[in-house]
Symmetry: C2
Subunit: 202 residues, 2 copies
């Protein structure tokens, strides 16, 4: 255990060390960086964190993080409300938006079903997805969850929940990454990329 | 440029991204982690950073970070006030204290002379070191700066400043690390380890 020359310093280091991926050495480096910044800059940092925690809202339609009751994406009339892409979290929304390939709406689950981590269907925004579909506007639900055991379980659970509505259900394509060479692709991915082959566009 | 679904979120991400070694992706992960924590925890984090900035003191003797006017090390009567170890920053004090091999006092420069970064002798606690030595109690000054161009320059500058006092000046030993194999040690270090060989203690 390191001996800190100051209790205030140690407290701040402990707080930084609670962040994911930040050990005590990194935390000390971050705190000493803070000490070198001006008081205004430190105030701005502290204030931004407090405000994001206190004032952040979640869109009441898609449950994405938002400054307003309905997020800019759900509120955008030019987007296609008949297609909903189901994702795990806000990072996934940002990643898909960056592709500029999707003009429908989103539904943010807030996680995936993971019994190991104590996350059940009731902890996720699945019932609210069923309610959205029940309103009758949605024609297609795209499942865009991680290609992991938990993601697949969640996709399966949702598809069962929505099966009675008779809407189109799809999942994002699994296959070899653009730019990747075949010989370095794992065999499960390569196998699925052959099974799910698409018409060639020359 | 990523499009954030919320201005509050983006502001908090920008603040985290100013930390050294933290990019915007990591910053977003840290902010989302903050959002999952309780309001009390976020308050504690924010408070610890504000307090360390506002209330931290620097020891008026050695200039190390401290909660009091004189730090616990300088205030410890059992330590040897005749030997002063000159270091760059608080991490170095902690590292040397962890070895439990040094019972003298410290002098924290707050950096090293680095014209490239605009750091001159006047930006460091060098004059206060000269003043300490001038008081006449100090018999030995150990230079424990980084083995870099800047560290060596600073050591040289300090040794010149203190030369008139006729005290013992020493530098920490450079040599191969304990546990390291000879063949993987760089030749400069290996060469110095031969020049500065020590009597063998069998």
């Amino acid at each position: 255990m390191d001996k800190y020359p100051s209790a205030l310093l140690e407290k701040a280091v402990s707080e930084f060390a609670k962040l994911p991926g930040v050990g005590r050495k990194t935390a000390l480096r971050l705190v000493l960086f803070m000490l070198k910044r001006s008081e205004n800059e430190v105030d701005a940092f502290s204030e931004a964190i407090l405000r994001v925690k206190q004032d952040i809202k979640y869109c009441k339609v898609c449950h994405n993080i938002s400054d307003t009751d309905v997020c800019p994406i759900c509120g955008d009339k030019r987007r296609d409300g008949s297609v909903v892409c189901v994702v795990e979290n806000v990072q996934d929304v940002m990643a898909i938006e960056n592709t500029q390939q999707f003009r429908g709406l989103y539904h943010v689950l807030g996680g995936v079903i993971s019994p190991m981590d104590g996350v059940g269907p009731g902890d996720l925004e699945i019932d609210s997805l069923v309610d959205r579909v029940a309103e009758g506007q949605i024609k297609e639900v795209i499942l865009a969850l991680s290609s992991t055991m938990e993601g697949d379980t969640t996709s399966f659970y949702i598809s069962r929940k929505l099966s009675s509505f008779g809407i189109k259900m799809s999942a994002i394509a699994r296959g070899i990454s653009v730019g990747n060479e075949l010989e370095y692709t794992d065999e499960v991915t390569l196998g699925r990329s052959i099974l799910n082959r698409t018409p060639f566009q020359g």
